[in-house]
């Protein structure tokens, strides 16, 4: 925070002690400063003190903001890293989560739930993967059943074709029946 140079610069520690601990009035502080060879009016000292406190607040707010941003970005990075390994459906959700985590941390409202988000997302992705794997197994089983049924029909048809006691017309009718053709 850049401020205009003042002859009071360098007396910050003393003035802070006088005003906050010793509870001096402006007039008393002006007298003490005069004893130290610093001539300043009460109004000038008052303005300087107001500016000093304002700067102090800004510095504290910045320090807190940067700390919260560091925490937020660490959590967002951890969550974001999971997108690479996540099912496609979860990728977009993770990107949105990253953004929300940053917004919340910027507002200084990082709740405990945000801190446990990486673990929750990890667990959700794991659950999603298991669900997808189960669905895939069901699809594969369905395909297998279909193939088995087709193989059985082919075997039956083969028997019909190789049966010498059946006329070509009967064979054709039987084969159509096996494959469910009208």
């Amino acid at each position: 925070m850049k401020r205009q140079a003042s002859k009071l610069d360098g007396h910050e520690a003393e003035l802070t002690r006088w005003f906050r601990e010793e509870r001096l009035t402006l007039a008393q502080a002006v007298t003490r400063l005069a004893e130290r060879g610093v001539a300043v009016s009460p109004s000038r000292l008052s303005a300087w003190w107001a500016r000093y406190q304002q700067d102090e607040l800004q510095t504290e707010a910045e320090a807190k903001l940067f700390a919260d941003l560091a925490t937020g970005s660490r959590i967002a990075r951890e969550v974001g890293a999971m997108a690479a390994d996540a099912p496609t459906q979860a990728g977009t959700l993770i990107k949105l989560l990253e953004r929300l985590i940053l917004q919340v941390s910027v507002r200084g409202e990082t709740p405990q739930q945000v801190k446990v988000l990486p673990a929750l997302v990890r667990s959700a992705i794991q659950g999603l993967k298991v669900q997808l794997a189960e669905r895939q197994v069901a699809v594969d089983e369905g395909k297998l059943e279909l193939l088995k049924a087709r193989a059985a029909k082919a075997e039956e048809a083969e028997k019909v074709v190789g049966d010498p006691s059946t006329s070509p017309e009967e064979k054709q009718a039987k084969i159509r029946a096996i494959f469910g053709m009208a």
């Binding site: 940067f66 941003l69 990107k95 940053l102 910027v106």
Partner: protein
């Protein structure tokens, strides 16, 4: 009133705090305004962002769902170390 120099300094330090994790523009503007009193006008911050970009301290990339996201350039990282 927060000067443009102060805004740029705060922008650079906010981006530095994320250790390379890019910040969407709206979030960056929030970071520089929300917690401060008096809160600088968002338009001033947007202008300071452009200024920092023109000075080569930060660079923006358009990202799906997030809009423009900002990060420090190598020059910006060097600058932050002097702040």
């Amino acid at each position: 009133m927060t000067t443009r120099v102060d805004l740029i300094r705060r922008i650079l330090k906010a981006l530095d705090a994320t250790e390379g994790f890019p910040l969407p523009e709206e979030t960056l503007i929030d970071a520089v305004t929300i917690r401060f009193a008096p809160s600088p006008p968002r338009a001033d911050v947007a202008e300071a962002i452009k200024r920092a970009e023109a000075q080569g301290y930060i660079s923006g990339t358009e990202v799906e769902l997030q809009g423009v996201v900002w990060g420090l350039t190598a020059k910006g990282q060097s600058k932050v170390r002097t702040l």
